[in-house]
């Protein structure tokens, strides 16, 4: 990557050239939105109590000990962080950010630190330090790009994760995230957008009609079908905003003939626990598991959503039975497999624009899903272009770590968080930007709007839906019999009677 740490003037210039008049500088950012009313004087004690309780029951002590022992303060991580690259403020260097929490750990939870602290009389946690941590950990988008650049392997995204966890235990957490989680865990509809089940059913019926009209094939969105191969969880916002993504996914299933289902008791993949609290994450993931088990499904399939996929993939085994837990698959993996097996016919003449693929951090950072979507896209998008850096080394959209859900900081996300991404998009000159993640999509669309970028942001399956070509037999069959039996979509494949 060639970008240099920008100078003070460069930074001012960068901020000045941004179109939005209400440019917000990091230091002037009003971060009070995520500080709930508390007795401020009591916070250091409560912070340490929460920290201690978490250390007692988790594995974080191992990481903190290792990190405090090896950290060399070399500053290499600075070049990796899109936030620091945009602000040039040393307080945004990943190692500085992690240092805030590591210092508290060292001072209050290690013998050496306590002795040193007593002698020098410094380092004690104060209210200002808590404020600084709150500010800093929510400026970070937890994209974990800096971890790749650290020669000593410090995962600053993990420290941000832990820092937010402790803060949330003393009530410091973005309101937007809490509101969504409350709706999901305590609300009547068990999803973050409080979509009632009848509304969900209306939506999928509407989508079915649309697909029938557009593709002349009757494709069903199965709901509550027990014993399906795949229990599907989309980020609930897809049902409100991403019709094409969902229709693309349904089309892929129509083409493969596999049985799948949505569960009406829990159909939301979103897990904001990842962004601020492990206990919340555990509760949400357990509900995904119980819904899949209620329906007697064989695999959990997560839709186009980076954080939800990573959470399910990594933490379903953690919280729901280790090696006996249900396997987790992301929809891109499923579609890629279907494509490789030759089950998808994608018309190469439909998408003629310049297409680029944006890697969601949660899918690409650990090299989980990097090449699969590219292979499929390149097979039918004639004009495919790459952004660099990409894959495991991609640049965050600027809305990661839950930032995108917080509308109050849109300005921050647009001018600072998404600055590098916007430059990257502009440089690659794509007309269609594929982002297979609900959070990335929202952030990137806002970026396109606010930064005047010349492209359209779509989901991966939006393009699949556009290009998928159902063979004649399907359509003939549909004329004879308008009920979809997925098994009949592939001549030669036995119908197992599931998924109806």
């Amino acid at each position: 990557m060639k970008t240099k740490v920008i100078t003070e003037q460069g930074r001012d210039k960068a901020l000045a050239t941004i179109k939005k008049p209400e440019v917000i500088e990091r230091q002037k950012l009003n971060v009070r939105y995520h500080i709930e009313d508390l007795d401020v004087n009591d916070r250091p004690r409560r912070f340490l109590e929460a920290f201690a309780a978490i250390l007692k029951h988790s594995n974080y002590r191992m990481v903190l000990d290792h990190f405090t022992r090896v950290t060399a303060r070399c500053s290499r991580c600075a070049v990796a962080c899109h936030i620091y690259q945009a602000t040039g403020d040393p307080k945004d260097i990943p190692c500085y950010r992690s240092g805030l929490l590591l210092d508290v750990y060292r001072r209050h939870f290690t013998l050496g630190g306590m002795i040193r602290g007593r002698i020098t009389g410094g380092g004690y946690i104060t209210d200002e330090k808590i404020e600084e941590m709150a500010d800093s950990f929510y400026n970070c988008t937890a994209c974990r790009r800096c971890a790749l650049e650290c020669p000593l392997g410090l995962d600053h995204g993990l420290v941000t994760h832990l820092g937010r966890y402790i803060l949330s235990e003393i009530g410091i957490v973005p309101r937007a995230l809490v509101v969504s989680v409350r709706a999901q865990l305590e609300g009547p509809y068990h999803n973050t957008s409080a979509v009632p089940v009848p509304a969900l059913k209306d939506t999928i019926e509407f989508l079915e009609d649309d697909m029938y009209e557009e593709k002349s094939v009757k494709i069903k969105f199965p709901a509550d079908v027990e014993g399906s191969d795949y229990v599907f969880f989309a980020p609930v916002s897809d049902y409100l905003m991403e019709a094409d993504t969902l229709m693309g996914i349904a089309s892929v299933f129509a083409a493969t003939g596999d049985s799948w289902t949505i569960g009406t008791e829990n159909f939301d993949a979103i897990n904001y626990g990842l962004f601020y609290n492990d206990r919340i994450m555990e509760r949400v993931i357990k509900r995904v598991d119980s819904e899949a088990r209620r329906l007697n499904g064989k695999q959990v399939l997560i839709g186009e959503c980076g954080h939800a996929s990573r959470t399910a993939k990594n933490f379903l085994p953690t919280f729901c039975g280790g090696s006996d837990s249900l396997p987790v698959l992301n929809i891109l993996e499923y579609t890629h497999k279907a494509w490789r097996e030759g089950k998808l016919k994608l018309d190469p003449d439909v998408v003629t624009e310049k297409v680029a693929y944006h890697d969601p951090c949660n899918l690409a950072r650990n090299r989980w899903i990097v090449d699969q979507p590219r292979e499929v896209l390149k097979s039918f998008c004639r004009n495919y272009v790459e952004m660099t850096p990409k894959g495991e080394d991609n640049i965050c959209c600027g809305g990661g770590g839950g930032a995108v859900s917080i509308d109050e900081i849109r300005s921050y996300r647009m001018t600072i968080g998404g600055k590098l991404k916007a430059e990257q998009i502009r440089k690659c000159g794509c007309e269609i930007l594929v982002a297979p993640c609900a959070n990335c999509k929202k952030q990137l669309r806002e970026l396109v709007e606010d930064q005047g970028l010349n492209c359209r942001v779509v989901g991966f399956h939006d393009l699949i839906y556009k290009a998928i070509d159902f063979d004649g037999s399907l359509k003939v069959q549909h004329e004879e019999d308008t009920t979809l039996d997925p098994g009949k979509y592939n001549p030669g494949r036995p119908s197992d009677g599931k998924g109806k």
Partner: protein, 231 residues
Amino acid sequence: MESLLHFARGPLFRLCFMIMLLGLARILFLDLWEAYRAYRKAGDKKMPWRLIVRRGLEWAFPMKRIWRNPQLYSFVSILFHIGLILVPVFLFAHIDLWKSAIGISWPALPFRWALWLTISTIVCAAVLLIERLSVKAIHSLSRGQDYFWLILLLFPFVTGFVCANLKIGAGLYQFLMLVHVLSGDVIFLLIPFTKMAHCVLAPFSQIIDALAWKFPPATDQDILETLNPNH
């Protein structure tokens, strides 16, 4: 002076070296013990070994990183580390010392190589020091020990270079030799107690990173009860 030098490169060296070995063994043991306990507690025990090994190797042999942004800094710090590792271990004069201390020896670096490595290490340390002082990002992160180490590491290299390559009087030679050996002893002594511990811990970072995301199952209730005993 002679007897002092003898003491510094004899008993004192052995003492410092022993402290270093024990200290490093201690933190290595603690680190790995904690990792083992974390693994035992983890709800998901499947480790991404391929990724761990690949990333570990990438840093052990940082070819890809030599000319990465920030280029000069990357290049210089990698070269610096090469010198730091090779010269003390493979310089022929040191091998004699090692032999007398621990009784084994190994092939030495050719003299010219050792000379150039010494010079490059000195230059690299100087460049790194200047960068720490002048580049905003690095300067703002630096603690006392970060400067201290760069300066301390310069001592044995500069004195060693002068003694081995320049014609100097016997008195000065002895004095510089004493500085050389003493600074080496101090370095050994301090390694386990400072950031230099990374020399043994860094190879395990990727494992620790992967393990870090392996949480114990069902901590929700435990933490809740610890925080609200009357809950």
